[in-house]
C-alpha cells in the first residue's frame, strides 16, 4: 500500500518542493493550507505528474481549537507529517505591537508545536510515523534583527527535541530541519549570499534523505552547521556587540 504525507503550509515554496519529492517516491499527498482553493492547482499538477492521490485541505495554524477536528478528519491518518508553516513578520512591528508579536509567536511556535504534538500522539498510538518540523537557524541564537521570530523558532526547536527524546525508544521518528537561507517567497528581494542560500529543491532532497537515513537534525547546506556552531560558541559579551 502506498504511504501518505500530510504537509502543513503547503503553499510554501519549500513545501511545494517537498510535495514533488515525496510524490516521486510514490507518496499520496494531503496538502493543507489556509486557502485550500489556492493549492488545488498544485494538487492537480502533482496528480498528473506522479500519478498519486493529492487532496487539498483547509488548515490555519492559529486555529488551535480546530486541530482535533482537522486530525480526526484525515483519511487516512498519514505516515509522515511535515510542517512548513512559518511567518517572519516585521521585527520592528513585533517590538512595538504585542498583537503583531503574538501572531509571529503563535504561527512559528504554538501552532506548529501543538499540531505536531497531537499528530505524534496519534502516531504513537498507531505504532508508526514520522514527524518533520521546519524550524530555523534563527532559533539557535536570538539576534537583534529577528528575535521575536527567532524566539518562536527556538521554542519550536526545543519542542521537537523534547518530543524526539520522549519518543526515542518507540517507533515514531522526529526530524528537525533548520535550513539556513532558502530562496523562497519569505526571502524574495533580500540580498542573500548565493553560497549560503539553498534552493527549495535542495531542501526537499535533504529532508527526504534525512527521513531515509534516519537523521535527527539537519541544516541542509553543511556550512550552516559550522556557521551556527561558531555563532553559538561566541561568548555573550562578544555576541551582543555583533550585527549579524
Amino acid at each position: 500500500m502506498s504511504k501518505t504525507i500530510l504537509i502543513l503550509g503547503a503553499t510554501s515554496d519549500m513545501a511545494r518542493a517537498c510535495a514533488h519529492r515525496y510524490a516521486r517516491e510514490g507518496y499520496d499527498l494531503q496538502l493543507a493550507a489556509r486557502d485550500a482553493a489556492a493549492i488545488e492547482a498544485d494538487a492537480q499538477d502533482l496528480r498528473l505528474r506522479h500519478g498519486v492521490t493529492a487532496t487539498a485541505l483547509a488548515f490555519d495554524v492559529l486555529d488551535t481549537d480546530g486541530f482535533a477536528g482537522f486530525i480526526a478528519g484525515l483519511a487516512p491518518l498519514p505516515d509522515v507529517v511535515l510542517c512548513a508553516v512559518g511567518f517572519m513578520g516585521d521585527q520592528t512591528e513585533s517590538q512595538r505591537n504585542p498583537q503583531a508579536a503574538t501572531v509571529v509567536l503563535r504561527s512559528n511556535f504554538e501552532g506548529p508545536a501543538l499540531a505536531l504534538g497531537m499528530l505524534a500522539e496519534r502516531f504513537e498510538a498507531r505504532g508508526s510515523g514520522t514527524v518533520i518540523g521546519i524550524s530555523s537557524v534563527a532559533g539557535d541564537r536570538g539576534r537583534a534583527s529577528n528575535y521575536v521570530y527567532g524566539a518562536a523558532k527556538a521554542g519550536f526547536t526545543a519542542f521537537l527535541s523534547g518530543l524526539r527524546n520522549r519518543l526515542a525508544r518507540g517507533p515514531v521518528r522526529v526530524i528537525t530541519v533548520k535550513p539556513g537561507f532558502v530562496a523562497t517567497k519569505m526571502t524574495e528581494g533580500l540580498p542573500l549570499n548565493p553560497r549560503l542560500t539553498a534552493q527549495p529543491d535542495e531542501v526537499a532532497e535533504a529532508i527526504w534523505r534525512a527521513q531515509d537515513k534516519g537523521r535527527d537534525v539537519i541544516y541542509v547546506r553543511r556550512v550552516w552547521r559550522l556557521i551556527m556552531a561558531i555563532i553559538r560558541a561566541l561568548p555573550e559579551w562578544q555576541f551582543k556587540k555583533t550585527t549579524l
Binding site: 492547482a41 498544485d42 499538477d45 498528473l48 505528474r49
Partner: protein, 439 residues
Amino acid sequence: MQLSGWGRYPRAEGRLSAPRDTAALAALLAEGPAIARGMGRAYGDSAIGRHAISTRHLNRMIAFDATTGQLVAEAGVTLGEIIDAFLPRGWFLSVTPGTKFVSLGGAIAADVHGKNHHVDGSFGGFVDWIEVMGPDGAVNRCSATQNPDLFHWTLGGMGLTGVILRAAIRLRPVESGWIRQTTIPARNLDEALDAFAQTMDATYSMAWIDCIASGDRLGRSIVMEGEHAGRGELPADRRARPFDTPDRRAARVPFDFPGLTLNPLSVRLFNEAYWQKGLRQPTTTLTGWDPFFYPLDTVHEWNRIYGRRGFMQFQCVVPLESHGEGLRAILGAIARTGAASFLAVLKRFGPQQGRLSFPMEGYTLALDFPVNRRSLSLMPELDRITADHGGRFYLAKDSRLSAQTLRQTDPRWDAFAQWREDNGLAGQFVSAQSERLAL
C-alpha cells in the same frame, strides 16, 4: 541585475521578476514595458530587456487526455518535466529542440524545430491552443480558429505578442524510451547532402559538421538518423521496462574557462577526435532518448567553457534551390578565417509551417563562435552570403543581426511589426532584441 541569454552575450542591466500567479503578473505588466522569460536558453538577447518576467513559478500541469495525448500545462513547465511525467506512460514530445531545459512558453514563442522537422514540421504544429495575457492583463485564448491572428503571430513571435500563460499541446505515443540510431560518416559536403537526401523518410536526422576541415574535406560530417524503437526491437531483458533508459550522470562546468581554452587548435583536436569516433561507431545502435536528443544536457552550464566574454550562435537556413552553393560559401568563409566553431550542426528542413516559423525547405547550419574580434568580423560576411542565397536567420539564436539584414532577408517581420503597432503591443512587450531589430 545583469541579464543575458545562454551565450552570455550581450549582457544588459535589467530587472527580473518572478510572479507567482496571474494577478501578480498582470500587476507587473501594468507597470510598463516588459518581456517574458522562460529558461533563458535563447542564445542572445530575446529574453532580456529593461524588465524580464520569468515564468518559473507558473509551472503547473493542468490536464492530460490519454486518448488524444493532449497535455494542458502552464508556460513555465519545462520539456524535460513533460518527458519525466509522460514517457513512463508511453508519450514523448512531438517536437523537441536540442536541450530539454526549455520552457513550454519558450518553445512556443520561438516555434522551435527538432531533428524531425523534415517530417513533422515545427513545435507550433502540435499546439492546439494557447492563452496569452495582453498588456491590460486580459487573457485571450487563441487557436487556428479562435483569434487566429494572435495565435499565428504568437507562435514564433518571440514573446512580443504577450505572455503565454497556458497551452494545450499534443504528445506522440512511443513504445519505448530507446532510439534506433544509424550513423553515416560523410567525407565531405557532397556526401553529407547525399546522405540527407537518402534519409528523407527517417523520422529524425541531423549531422555534426566539422567546420575546420577544408579543401576536399570541406563539410565532412557525421550524419545521424534515428527512429523510436518499438518494444520488440529491444533486447529481451529490456522489454519488461521499455521506458527505463540508463541514468546519465550530470556534471557541471565549475568555473568560467579562460578565454584561451577554446582556440583553433583545441577545436581542431576535438573535431578530429569526434570524427574518428564517428568512424569507429557501429552503424546502427540502440541509444537512450536522453543522449540522442540532448547530448549536451549532462554538462550543466556548459556555456561557461567559452569564458567570460561569452559566445554567439549563427544559425541560418539556405533554401533548397541554392543550398549546395550557399553552404559551400559559408563553410569556405569559416575555414578561411580559421574561426573555431566546435559545435556545428547541419540539418535538412521541410517546408515552413507556421506564419513566423524560422524553417523553410532547405538546409540549416548552426555554429557557435566565441565572442572576439575575428568572429565579429566573420558574422556579417556569413550574413551576406546567407542573404545572397535567399536564406534567413533564427531569432532564438541571434544576438547581433542588424535590423536592415533581418528585414531584407525576411519581410514577414514587417507585417509582424505593423500588427504589433496596430494592436498596441509595440510599446508594451519589448526585449533588447526587439529594440535592436526594430520589431
